[in-house]
Amino acid sequence: MIPAILDTPAPHERTLRRLSDLLVRRHNLLVLILLVPPLLWLGMVYLGSLFVFLAQSIFSIDEFSGTIVREPTLATLAELFRPANFDILMRTVSIAAAVTVLCAIIGFPMAYYAARYAGPRAKAAFYLAVMMPLWSSYLVKIYGWKLLLAKEGAIGWIAGRLGLGPALEAWLALPLVGGPSLSVSYTGMVLVFTYLWLPFMILPMHAALERVPSSLIEAAGDLGASPGRTFRTIILPLALPGVVAGAIFTFSLTLGDYIVPQIIGTSALVLGQAVYTLQGTAGNIPLSAAFSLVPILVMALFLTLAKKMGAFDAL
């Protein structure tokens, strides 16, 4: 075979042509060649490190020496259910749930207006207006809110001007959501999270609403349904997969974040901060790995449910 190729006048072109024929005929070979480099990278760099880290959740830490005991045990995972740790989990999940609900409430009218009433130009402008904040710098956005929420900042000033100063004070005096100022309260933290992840909720909701056939809405009207009833029985159920798809983002992004609570929030830890301090100053990698498993499991559960509801068609 090989000598025959070398004997031909333009060996280089011949080999290329043969290789090309081979790739066209054996399509699976082509797919294999294409997939090997990215799979090697993600398999080795990403899955490898992920496994190394998460597998340590079945190890434990020696309380006296602070070294990792490399013997399989469930004790570390059980530690998650100790009151102090379980509090962290519940607090984080509650914040994530509040953020998700707020995102859905603020985002729905925007997505609904853009999907049903906006013309082509307005639609393009809307898309850009949602994409720009989505892609602008994460830290800069948090910084903007630090400016707004500070005690001497704009929100306090505007509230004072509008005569709402006492209302703001009263809100901050409330037990759970309040605090010394907005920038060190759960209210501030939830607001910032809502702001950060809102575009992730709007885009899938908008995609789902776009796909509601207008003939269905007209039919509902023709059959005598009031606009409110059409909305409840036709539009909302059909838009629900989009809301669920958006909730996947808002929920998982809030669960894993540790920067926002560090800059705007109370001194009580959330999950991300727990993972961060445990692997850093505390040096307790096993417990940090055990904590990391929680958002992964919650999201896996969420994704399975979402798949059953058909939320992925709205992505």
């Binding site: 603020i106 602008s136 910084y143 991300g272």
Partner: protein
Amino acid sequence: MTRASLSLKLAALAGLAFLHIPLLFIVLYAFTTEERSYAFPPPGYTLKWFVVVWERTDIWAAVGLSLRVATLATLIALVLGTLAAGGLARAKFFGREPISLLFVLPIALPGIVTGIALRQAFGLMEIPFSFWTIVLGHATFCIVVVYNNAVARLRRLSPSLIEASMDLGADAFQTFRLVVLPNVGTALLAGGMLAFALSFDEVIVTTFTAGQQSTLPIWMLSELIRPRQRPVTNVVAVLVIAVTFLPILAAYYLTREGEAVAGSGK
């Protein structure tokens, strides 16, 4: 089509205002004369902080590192993401779903998990922190952005175009160069720009893979936690908005145009 009710219009407008007003405040604060607090309204306006930032070498070093990391991470992501998209766009084989999940996983899982995992792996293999460890982390989560853009365009590319090229005697490489590449080029460019913006802005994974080095987001994070010179941070924030604005806008126009490729209507 019926008209939207006034309350719906107002709610949608309020949402848009909520999304954009915080960014406007950052621009306003870049000109404030107040140094010690975030007092609103600013007592006076000045351009002096832009000059101060211009002369700060630590900021420019951080910008330089961020730009170099983002460039290299984007190039790696472009190659790997395009290969992955080419392999998966039309393939139907067992294991296709888990593989595409694997490509999405690095941005689906919390950044802190990715970050600590990489740090642990570097420690285990005794790899010291360097420019390359940052690039390694960034490239990993940038692949998905390129992949998503490329896969969407490849699926729209009509197979009959490729068949026609082959029927006319072009081989696989010629077809790739003359038919496939011109059709997916803008999608790759857009994916590359988004990957660049993502890498330039990334802070969570970088915290764990940078060691003592400071990228621009790391610099900003330390200023956010312990503010030393607030006006300088204000100006840097405005510069970051300006730098990320342009690639995102460009990426939008690149993926919007060229929807109608001849023969793409099946």
